[in-house]
Amino acid sequence: MLNFFQLIIIYAGIYALMAIGQNCITGYTGMLSLCHAGFFCIGSYVTAILCKTFGLSFWLTIPVAAIAAGFVGFLIGVPTLRLKGDYLCIATLGLGEIIRNIATNLNPVGYQAIPRASLFGYEFSARGKWQFIALVWVFVLVFYFLFQRLAHSRIGRALNAVREDEIAAQSNGINVTKYKIGSFTLGAAVGGVAGCFMAAYTATVNPGTFTFMVSVMVLCMVVLGGMGNGKGVILGAFIIQFISYFPQLFGLSSIIPAQAQQIIYGLILVVMMIWRPQGLLGRDKFRYGIEKRRLAIPHKGARKEGGRA
């Protein structure tokens, strides 16, 4: 039982990274993309190939995977981000499948016995679950804080503006194309990082892991937790992972078939869209820490002197 809980926490961590990336694309910028499994796949393959064939350390493969996935995201983004809404969705769906098919043709059985990650002589094997939990969740926290920071900077405001109204964003001097491609690239890169951990934990990669359902699952996490809410998507990752391991956890796998998951994801998406489109936690409200100090705000004269507050 404990074993299962640990497993859920590990996978929730890996998928939380994916969800953070998807949140950047869908939550902040409002682009409905369905190819996160593709970026996940690229990250896993980069780690697998570099570790196994070139004997590189796991740590070095993380930036390489991020850059590779980000680059592919950029290449996909340039032509497809002119599309909107469901058209973009279909285009990215196809591209995600293309990535998986390339992986299948590259090596249909994938890679086995990938060398484990190690730190100061300690090897993160599948047995040391607590240690791996620590490893994954450190990265989740780092990316969580990086993206919170992003969301609340000038860049984050620009991404929100692009999501809300592209034409108005242009009229405010925001280069819409640049921000859309940037956010897509960044989201893809984080998906790649998640892939590294998948390869490191399972020590095997095979194309069958990176199906379209993975993309749907990640999108589901973002929608469930709350689009544009950093904490929400992590919560979403937990809930979805729990649901997908629920039958095994309570020994019901003989009664509830694995395909039931897909029905549940679909139900979650539909139910959320009808009753709580903003997600469980809703959109992240940012406090600037000075709302109450109204007296500190200089009056109209200040602007004419050209002075900033």
Partner: protein, 262 residues
């Protein structure tokens, strides 16, 4: 002095000539009105000048610089701001965040550093920068007496306030030229009165204003110069008095000569 000028500007949509060879001049520091019957090409002209649409023919000169065909975001960075006929606010963001977004290209830029450095700096100084931007945005909200609704969602404001918020967002970047596309549409007389006052205060800030409007009382009261379009062509230009007495305008726009215009 002319701040903006279009030379032989035309826009053809398929077989429809929406804007036909228009020479439109905007005088600096004045409130310039642009009027004309529905479908006269006023908004198309606005869209071309602000880069939302590309001219088929002709040139647009802003401050002696040719801005024809530049993308909208570049044009807005040169100092041309606009509002929209159908209000385009960031409805799910708060009122203050809307104005903060309007300040987008005025913050986080350091002329001595490269563009990457700027983005990097903006990212890591978000805390202090946010406060700075927040306070600037609040100043603009005070200008429009919207400061009490600062934390509300923009979409939840009443209609008249949404119009004002859109103007606040456009003004935040300190443009030298402001285009208002039917700012009084859907407003009641009290709100229109308030808008006239607001437009005058914006002019006092030194911003040149161009406005499209159907409310003749408003146009005749606050515009210093009026240009009249009809079927894509400029048919008259002059002071409100001249326009009122122009026979071409009366024929094309205001109806039969003996009719009262308001």
């Amino acid at each position: 002095m002319r701040i903006l000028e279009t030379e032989h500007l035309s826009r053809i949509f398929g077989g429809v000539v929406a804007v036909n060879d228009v020479n439109f001049q905007v005088e600096k520091g004045l409130v310039n009105g642009l009027i004309g019957p529905n479908g006269a090409g006023k908004t198309t002209l606005f869209n071309q000048i602000t880069g939302m649409d590309k001219p088929t023919k002709g040139r647009i000169i802003f401050n002696d610089q040719d801005i024809t065909g530049l993308p909208a975001w570049k044009i807005s960075r040169l100092g041309i701001a606009r509002t929209f006929q159908n209000i385009r606010l960031y409805k799910d963001l708060t009122v203050v965040e809307n104005v903060m977004t309007g300040l987008h290209f005025t913050v986080g830029r350091d002329p001595f550093k490269g563009r990457f450095a700027q983005a990097f700096k903006s990212y890591f100084t978000a805390g202090s920068e946010n406060k700075d931007v927040y306070l600037q945005a609040m100043e603009w909200l005070e200008f429009f007496s919207l400061e009490d609704s600062a934390q509300e969602l923009a979409g939840s404001l009443p209609y008249g306030k949404q119009r004002e918020l859109e103007i606040a967002r456009a003004l935040a970047a300190k443009p030298s030229l402001l285009f208002l596309d039917e700012p009084a549409a859907g407003m009641n007389p009290a709100e229109t009165e308030h808008l006239m006052d607001t437009v005058n205060r914006i002019r006092d800030l030194g911003v040149t204003i161009v406005l499209i409007e159907h409310d003749m009382k408003l146009v005749m009261n606050i515009c210093d110069q009026i240009t009249v379009l009809s079927f894509g062509q400029k048919i008259a230009q002059g002071t409100p008095e001249e326009i009122k007495n122009d026979s071409t305008v009366i024929e094309a726009y205001l109806g039969a000569p003996d009719e009262e215009e308001e």
